[in-house]
Amino acid sequence: MRILLIEDDAMIGDGLKAGLGQLGFVVDWFRHGKDGLAALSSAPYDAVVLDLGLPGMDGMAVLAAWRRAGRSEPVLVLTARDALPERLKGLDAGADDYLVKPFALAEVAARLRALIRRRHGQSGPLFSHGGVSFDPVARRATLSGEPLELTARELSLLELLLASKGRVLPRELIEEKLYGWGQELDSNAVEVHVHHLRKKLGSAFIKTVRGVGYTLGES
C-alpha cells in the first residue's frame, strides 16, 4: 500500500515514514503543502496522511484543491487542534478520517487500512482467495490454514493482488505501489517477486496477462 505523507514536522514525519514502513506501507514523505499537492498525481497512492498545520500552504487548502480537481484518494488528516469546529471543518473539506495529535502509530496504520479497504468496497479485515488468506494487521498469510513464510515485499504484492481482485494490475503500477520514491529497484523486480509468490502459493495463483500485467488466477 503506497501512502502519501505530508507532514512538516521533521520528527513526526521521520517517525511515521519509518513506522508505517515497518507496518507494511510504502511511504513517500513531503514536508511542504505545495510539494505534496503536486505529488498526489505523480504516483498511484492508496491513501494520504495529511497534517493540517502545514507551512506555506495550509493542509486544508491542499485537501480542498485535490477535491476540486476530482481526486478521490482517501485522506487521513492529522492535527493538533481537537475542537469540534476544527474537526468538522476538516471533514467538510473532504477528509475521510481524522486523528488528533498525539496519536498512536498503530492507529494511523489501522485507520489507513480501513480507509483503503472501504475504497476497494471490502468491509472485512481479511483478504482471501483460493485457500490463501492474508491478515493485513498482523501481516501474516496462510495457505489452507498453514502459515506462509513471505518477505515484506511478497506480502505487499500479495496484499495488492488480493485488494485488486478481478482487475489486471499493470507491472508499472505494481512497481509504484511496492516501492517508494528513492528506493532502488531492478527492472525485473516485479517478475522476481511474482516468481517467488508463485513458488510458495502455487503457479496458478497469479495469472500473467501478456503485455499488460498480472491478476489473480481462478480460485
Binding site: D8, D9, A10, M11, I12, D14, G15, L16, A18, G19, Q22, L23, R31, H32, G53, L54, P55, G56, L78, A80, R81, V100, K101, P102, F103, A104, L105, A106
Partner: protein
Amino acid sequence: MAVPSLRGRLIRMIMLVVPLVWLVATGLSGYAAWHEVNELYDGQQQLFAQQLLNSAPTITHPAAPYEHGEEGEVDGMALAVWDAGGQLLLSDGEGLILNPHPGLSGFLTLDTGDKRWRVFYLSNRAYSVAVAQELEERWEVVRGLIAAQWLPWLVLVPVLLLLLWRGVALGLRPLERVRDELQHHPLDAPTPLSREVPAELRPLIDGMNGLIARVAEMLARERRFTADAAHELRTPLAALRVQAEVAQLSTETAAREHALAQLTLGVDRATRLIDQLLALSRLDPLQTPANAALLHWQAIAERALAEVRHTAAGRAITVELRQTCPYAEVLPLRGDDTLVGLLLRNLLDNAVRYSPDGATVTLELAADHVAVRDTGPGIAPEWLERVRERFFRPPGQNQPGSGLGLSIVERVAELHGLALQLENRTEGGLIARLVRA
C-alpha cells in the same frame, strides 16, 4: 477603624446643622418679634393714655391713696391720672407707685426691683396721665410667638431625619444593583455594567467598566495562550510517541537506534518548548522589569556568549563580540540583567541555529544599539513581520523550534523600552537589532 457610612455622616451633619440653623432663626425671629410687640404695645399705651387724658375731666373724686400689698387685677397694666397740681385723681394697678411728672410726654422705663415697667406719660395743661405696662407681659408674648414657631420644628425634625434615612437608602439602591450586577458578572465577558445610575456613581461605573474590559481581555489572552501552548505541546508529544513506537517495532538495530536518538531529541525539544512557554508566561503579566538597575552589559554579554558558544562549537560556528564603545557606554539602560540575558541568548541561539556550519555569528554592542548578525539564509520578506507572532514558524524549517523565541525577545525588549528590528542583510544573513523605541 470604623467603616465610614454615608448615611451616618449625613445624619450627623443634619443633627449638627439643623439645631444651629434653628438657633440662629430663633434668635432672629425673637429679635424681630420683640420689636413688633414693642411697637404694638407702645401704640396701644399711647392710645390708651390719650383716651385717659381726654376723659380726665370726668373724674370727680380724688382717688384713694395707694394701698401697698394689695393685689389688684393681674393684667400687668397700671395707670394714674393727676391734675395740674400733681394731685392723684385715679390710679389702678399692681401695687406700682407712679410718680407724677407734670408736663412730661413720652416713655420711661421703671425698675421696681422685681419688675420692670414701661411707662407712658402724657400731659396737657390741666391733667397728666401715666400708663404703665409690665415688660414681662411683652416678653410673654414674644416667648409665646417663639414657642409657636418651635413646635412645628420639633415635630418636623424627626420626620426630616426619617425621610433622610429613607432617602439615602433609596439613593444608594443603585449601588446595590451595581453590586448584584457585579456578583453575577462573568469574568471573561467584556460587557460593561449598565450606566443607568445616578450621575454621582458614573465615575465609579466607568472605572469598573475599564477594569472589566481589561480583565476580560487579559483572560482571553491567557486562554488563547494556554490553548495555543497545549496545541503546540501536542506536536512534540506526537513526535515522541511515534518515535517510541518505531523504536519498539524496529527489528533492525540501526533503525531502532535512529528512533531512539530521535526520541532523545524530541524530549529536548519538548523541554525547550516548555522552558520558552514558562519564560513567556512569566514575562506576560509584567509591566516593567521586576528588578530594574543599570544594566551590566559586560556580564550579560559574557554569560550569553559562553552559553551559546557551547552549542556553536559543535558545528564549528564562531560567535564573536564586536564592541564599538566601552562597556560602560553601551546602550545605557535600566533593566533586569537576567531578562536581557534571556533576550540575548534567544537572539544568539536563533543566529547559531540557522547559520551554516562553520559560519560566524556576531554580537555587536554599541552606544545606540545592540545587534546580533548571522550569515544564515535570513527570513523571507513575506515572513519578516509574522516571525514575531507566537508559535509562528516560517515554512521550510529543518531546525526544530518553538516559534516563541522572538516573542520572548520582543516582550523583553518592550519591557525595557526597546524595539526589535529584523532585517535581511544585503550580503546575506539576518541582523536583529535592538534600539530605543
